[in-house]
């Protein structure tokens, strides 16, 4: 009951956005459906006549159908960029198979003695098609359109990944933020939409053969009308922002940008996977990202200084079991050796080598230690075993590789690594349950994801690096018997990013600069 009420409250609070997303969702679905009908129907009719081409066309459409939706959207981006065009194209490709196949099945399924007698009475091929074949095939064709509609309503949620809007903005934001109300606020309307559109089409389908001629008129008009709901987000200002669904819903994200900086620029929602590239290709101007992401370097982006400190610090530090430390006290000094050696841009560079230059984390870590004179050849490793864990991304792989070489070079301990333990929760649970001894964690994650600090606490800490570190250190020791060692030095926090060239030409270095440019800069151009 509580859940329902708060969902209701959430939907009421966000009704503007909800309405906008629903309209965009209907629009996306219907535009792509309309195009799929306009292209799929003639194609289906054509292959019903050219049985030799049928297997080829159906085969191609079938293969398109089997491409996972995320992958298909991914293919679209290099070709069509981000936004409505690639989303509609991908949806259109998904809708194509059921429409072509059912048109083909419907037309070839018409009783040949009926079409033959139509021709025998002197109807032209066109008249036979329009007055006999299409009306008789219409129930089957409509069934195909229904299938396509339901598929499209579902896949359209993914449009949120590439800045095309729709209810996916809530759904993916909710998933990223672990906010059930937000997920439901997107998922329920999208499910209702699928049911509603399916129901409307089933009404058309049930009008019976007798009125099929009217259906062929009503359907396109209906689709056209629904399509017009989609108003492509217009970038009215000079700068377009593209933020992940997660960032959009966070106080230490978009909401903070609005409340603390009063930043107000046109914004689209987009997946982390394509955001950096989109910024590089000038589809977006401002994005939200992680400050040590290798793609910063790959796409020549710079981070804007968070001069009002809305993004909590995410300083990386080894998080280790107190028992382990007690048993092997020599570990502490070894693990803290990295401290002060890696700043943001160095970490970005190391990530870049792995993510973009495709070097192995082992190689990158090894070369780094040699460069810094930290490397020592392994000792005998017979004093015991240390288990190191990592989350599933390059930065963590590199770090634990460095720790492995440091431990084995400076102590008689042997190291086993358990890489790719998924997200925070899996790593943390593994550590707490004594399945690993240590993994690198970020102060902000400890604060927000594990300790789940409330707003009051956050305000008190005020995004201060030392205060946050001291707080998580104390609390982890108290609550979980885990020890935070000295931070390495880089801060992998949220940051706003821009293309280096654009930021320099506009003289934007801080978020406040950006805000000033966005509100006052109208007259510059």
């Amino acid at each position: 009951m509580q859940e329902q009420q708060s969902l209701w409250v959430f939907m009421a609070q966000q009704s503007g956005k909800l309405w906008e997303q629903t309209m965009a969702h209907i629009g996306l679905t219907c535009i792509s459906l309309l195009i799929a009908v306009v292209i799929g129907l003639p194609l289906g009719i054509w292959i019903a006549r050219q049985s030799k081409a049928a297997w080829l066309v159906l085969g191609i459409a079938g293969v398109l159908q089997t491409i996972p939706s995320i992958a298909l959207l991914g293919f679209m981006i290099p070709l069509l960029g981000i936004g409505a065009l690639p989303a509609i194209t991908a949806l259109f490709l998904y809708a194509l198979l059921p429409i072509i196949r059912n048109t083909y099945t419907g037309i070839t399924g018409v009783d040949p003695s009926v079409t033959e007698s139509a021709r025998g009475m002197g109807m032209t091929a066109r008249q036979v098609l329009v007055s006999v074949e299409l009306p008789l095939a219409m129930p089957v064709i409509l069934a195909g359109i229904r299938t396509a509609t339901v598929i499209n309503v579902g896949v359209a949620t993914l449009a949120a990944y590439i800045a095309a809007g729709g209810l996916g903005e809530f759904i993916f934001g909710g998933i990223a933020l672990n906010n059930t109300q937000m997920i439901l606020a997107g998922a329920i309307p999208s499910a209702l939409l699928a049911i509603l559109l399916d129901f409307l089409l089933s009404l058309l389908q049930k009008t019976g053969l007798k009125r099929m001629r009217k259906v062929s008129v009503i359907l396109p008009v209906l689709l056209l009308a629904l399509s017009s709901f989609y108003l492509i987000p217009i970038s009215g200002g000079k700068l377009l922002g593209g933020f992940t669904p997660e960032f959009m819903g966070r106080e230490d994200g978009y909401l903070g940008l609005k409340s603390k900086y009063k930043l107000d620029i046109p914004t689209v929602v987009i997946s982390d996977a394509v955001m950096y590239k989109a910024a590089f290709e000038k589809k977006l101007d401002v994005i939200s990202g992680y400050s040590t992401d290798g793609r910063l370097k790959a796409f020549d982006l710079i981070t804007l200084e968070d001069d009002r400190h809305i993004f909590p610090p995410y300083y990386a530090a080894p998080l280790i079991r107190v028992e382990t430390l007690r048993r092997y006290p020599e570990l502490q000094a070894v693990l803290e050796q990295l401290s002060g050696f890696i700043n943001d841009s160095l970490m970005t560079d190391l990530n870049y080598r792995v993510d973009y230059l495709k070097q192995t984390p082992e190689k990158v870590a090894h070369e780094f230690l040699i460069r810094k004179g930290l490397y020592k050849s392994p000792l005998n490793g017979n004093a015991g075993t240390i288990r190191l864990g990592s989350k599933i991304f390059a930065e963590q792989y590199i770090l634990i590789q460095m720790y492995k070489e440091l431990i084995e070079g400076n102590t008689d301990l042997k190291v086993v690594t358990k890489t790719g333990l998924g997200g925070t929760k899996i790593c943390f649970d593994a550590l707490a349950n004594n399945e690993i001894d240590m993994y690198p964690e970020y102060t902000g994650t400890g604060l927000l994801a594990i300790l789940k600090a409330d707003n009051k606490k956050l305000a008190e800490l005020g995004g201060n690096r030392e205060k946050v570190y001291e707080y998580v250190k104390t609390e982890f020791a108290k609550q979980y018997n885990l020890q935070w060692l000295k931070p390495i030095g880089f801060n992998n926090a949220y940051a706003l990013m821009m293309r280096r060239t654009q930021a320099q030409s506009l003289n934007i270095q801080t978020i406040t600069d950006l805000k000033n440019y966005a509100t006052n800069g109208n007259h510059r151009h």
Binding site: D111, S113, V114, A118, G120, Q127
Partner: protein, 316 residues
Amino acid sequence: MIVADQISKHFNGVQAVKNISFEVKEGETMVLLGTSGCGKTTTLKMLNRLIEATSGSIYINGKSIFEENPELLRRTIGYVSQNNGLFPHFTVAENIAVVPKLLGWSAQNVADQTEKLLNRLKLPPSEFLKKYPDELSGGQKQRVAVARALIADPPVLLMDEPFGALDPVTRAGVRKEFAQLPELKKKTVVLVTHDVQEALELGDRICLMDKGEIVQQGSAKDLLFNPANDFVRSFFDEQRFFLELKNILLRDVWNALPNSKTTSKYNLAPENNLLDALEILSMNELDELTVQNGDEIKTINIAAIHQGYGRTRQNS
């Protein structure tokens, strides 16, 4: 009216129809008879170009059909296809109106003609106009299909097994009605069937086909009593006696019958056949009955039937 000269049809190397020729005179009903797969349908459809002949020439009313636009040609030829081919999404009225619409008739004209034709076919318009094909019985569907082919009053009518889908009892009834339709009297009809009795009953002339060729063409009598070869003979063997009796008219044996002064209770006409006479004699346990041709009255009995049957068979 229809002349087919040396027409053939190959389907990817398979010769379905081999160099056949025939002629159908105006007002005549010609039947294409033969077992399934012998090429009847193919032959019929070549006449309205639903199938294009591979070679040969076809003239309708003196004009080569290959020089005409196929759609316009077909609008002047009534066509009843094998499984009636009614449009399931059209009402009876709409089905019948297909050709008139193509020809641009006024709605009023279509309505008037439809009503007239439906009445003639014993399908009361008030009841049937708005019905859909799936609400009709087999016999009713068949009659609507015939009405649809006849509505524009085409001089030529092509029918492919028009009664094939009906049960035997319905078939006999519909066939009889059909034979008596005044609309059909002046039409040139080509009718396809595999039913011997139907062929003999409806055909002025019969083309017996086998393996894509015409084995023999002529009247029912020619085929029964003067078979060109063993195939033709054996084709009718199963019902031979019955068919032969049916195809000897009382007129044919007229001269051999003794005169009579008065008519009896059962009085036949010269157009009746020996089977009719035999049937009435047997059913009513009579010794004889009379036949009347104008003022002339003759008697006929079992012996006369014997004699007539025997003589006809010998003569041929």
